[in-house]
Symmetry: C2
């Protein structure tokens, strides 16, 4: 276990209805974070924090994650400028997920593909029972090729 | 691997910008699902689906999950009546998370503690650097004790 500043898990009543923050990290030491626009509630992305990333986020007021693909800390916006200023963090009944309400700096996009939110496609059922994707609307904020070539 | 009706993962360009649905299930065979109110966007809960739960959801238009704690399928609302009618499902750039926009049947609550949304507490930093929880507002829709004793 990572040593953390957070409380260890207590009884169910306290977890669900108490005022002690005792987050549940999964077997990989991570907690799921739903990131929403603090002004209109749009779901921008889903990321994962370990205890240290959560602590950095609380200390700085800017969102830090743990990148599962790169296995490293990831300050959102460090290279892109799309820094997330954290307005509020909520947790759920069993304290195994977080909602971060944020304001996005830089060009205001969150997704590395150039859209404001990562969730820019919807599922559609075809007549044969298979599922495809289609764009859910919303123009790109920028084209990453213009920046990264 | 579970056999699924969904496509196997292709190249990054297709995953990120194509129309082929090729969801990424984690090492436990699960994908994270952010559930929002289709009308006002409130984040109601976070759940997890395996391929079969996702397929049941797509087939029936009502949300099915995989309960990690009980290790079993879980049709949301099967006992509580708080069934989720799925209005739209979105996926993100790397197709490893879903957003379900739903309308909740029954008494309209989602959380088993009795609140409309599971995220009814916010994190607050104390002066000593520790973190506590406080209610984020919103009355209980019902008291589970009234139903389950």
């Amino acid at each position: 276990m990572t040593e953390t500043k957070f409380a260890t898990r207590g009884d169910k009543g306290e977890v669900e209805q108490g005022s002690t923050f005792q987050p549940k990290f999964d077997a990989d030491g991570l907690i799921a974070c739903v990131v929403t626009d603090a002004d209109d509630g749009t779901v921008l992305m889903v990321g994962y924090m370990n205890a240290e990333a959560l602590d950095r986020t609380l200390e700085t007021g800017e969102a830090w994650y743990w990148s599962r693909s790169r296995q490293s800390f990831w300050k959102k916006g460090e290279t892109s400028g799309q820094v997330q200023q954290v307005v509020e963090i909520l947790t759920d009944c069993d304290q195994d997920a977080l909602v971060l309400r944020v304001r996005v700096a830089g060009n205001g996009a969150t997704c590395h593909v150039g859209y404001r939110a990562c969730f820019y496609r919807r599922l559609v059922r075809r007549d044969d029972g298979t599922t495809a994707l289609e764009h859910a609307g919303g123009a790109r904020v920028y084209d990453p090729k213009d920046i990264y070539g």
